[in-house]
Amino acid sequence: MRLKTAPAKNLYKYIISYFVLWILLFEFILPSNNILPKPSVVLLSFSALWHYYKLLFNFTVTISAVYLSILLAYFLTSLLSGYIVRKNHFVSEFLLSLHWFSHFIPAIVFGLFLIYWLPGSAYIEYLFAFFIALFSLVIRVNEEAAKVKHEYISSAVSLGVGESVIAKKVIWKSIQPAIIKYLIVLQFNIWSVLIAFEFIKGGYGLGRIYRLALDYNDLSVLFTISIIVGITIYLGTQLIKYFKNKFYHWSLD
């Protein structure tokens, strides 16, 4: 199934309308307010963001933590797929037992423990993002594997193909469109928890800029960073959609 792109035209219209509305309202009609910053102030805040808040460095830390962790988690899941997708295998049973805990304990709590265990580590956000990505992906793979069409498995079994080959070449392949589509949700989730994590921990990353901006009561930086995060997630989504349509094009109907 190809992901729909038709509503994008309407979306751009909305974005332009909001942008014009923001300029009209907050530049001319309500220049002094505590809701949204003046557009001209946002433009001026870029210099402070760049020099004082170290935008490039902090942005690089967060974006690399998000996407490197997703990439690494995907490749590790791919390597372990032969075990993860098998029913009643101890690896999949163990992961499903962890899944149960995730219903009651928010991911950020794990982050708090990491901060406590490794207070001085420079790579702690990478570790946190990687574990969240890996855990989420493995659970998703396990769920999607349970939905694979019986016909694919039955015909492979009757051809005398072994269990590990079926896991790798049939089940893992079959779930790829769903998994790649899930990466869109995953990147959004990781962005959310990672910003919260960096906000709590301090140190580096966009979460750290959010914290400083709140400390300094800097509405324009708060706003600009949110726009940057939004645009990055949007571009990430488009990239994942492109990969899905290009390399994982098949439909399972």
């Binding site: 069409k149 019986h150 016909e151 694919y152 039955s154 015909s155 492979a156 079994v157 009757s158 051809l159 005398g160 193909v161 072994g162 080959v165 070449k169 049939v170 392949k173 079959s174 790829q176 994982y248 094009h249 098949w250 439909s251 399972l252």
Partner: protein, 262 residues
Amino acid sequence: MNREILLEVKNISKTVHGLAGSKVRVLDKVNLKIEKPERLGQIISIIAASASELTALLKIISAIEKPSEGEVHLSGKQYHKSAGDIVFIPEHPSSFPWLNVKQNVEFAINFKENIPGSIDNKVSEAITFVGLEGYETHFPDDNSLGFRFRISLARALVADPKIILLDEPLKNLHGETKKEIFNLITELSKKINVTIIIASMNISDAVLLSDKIFLMTRHPGKIADTIDIDRSNDLNIHSDYFHSLKSEIEKLLTGYENIPLK
């Protein structure tokens, strides 16, 4: 003279878990014997009024599923682990949409050791036989059910099986495609040394295709009758022989409905 037994299904029973923890007996002491074909290939049909029992039986014969009781023997040896000697083609398309036609067909032998002869030749022959020559690089995802069935059949053929099990192969096909697949199955039995077992709920298709028909009761499934078809007789949808066979089977199947449910 008695011919050698190719497939023997001995007292196969299958019980599955139904709703609310209940147990449902799908198959009850199914027994059937299929002899090695006199000529090159043969087509055997199993007709029942219920599809689930037919599918369950085919999956047990091909060792995809284990029976609750009983055994399956192939050429005198117990067949309890799929080894590609009995290939099952499900009712719904089973060709992999992430592989093209050639890769789909190669899948059957890519992971096997000691394949005699050239793999490329085997794959090309199978593709040509099912009429997909020229479509080797096409992907099956947006193609017709007939196209996908041909891929599954070619994939089965390269595995060099003794038996191919077809689960209602013509059920979802219509018009020209149904006719083409019908002819393909007939041609297969004439040209290749393989026994084809078809599970069907369609009496007409089964009569026109088969050399022998087994009739199965439902709830639970049990082989109740066997009908041998004389292929030397005039057999087409207008012939008296066809109509007499069809009404005989209909009568028998209707009679099974009066068997008290166990």
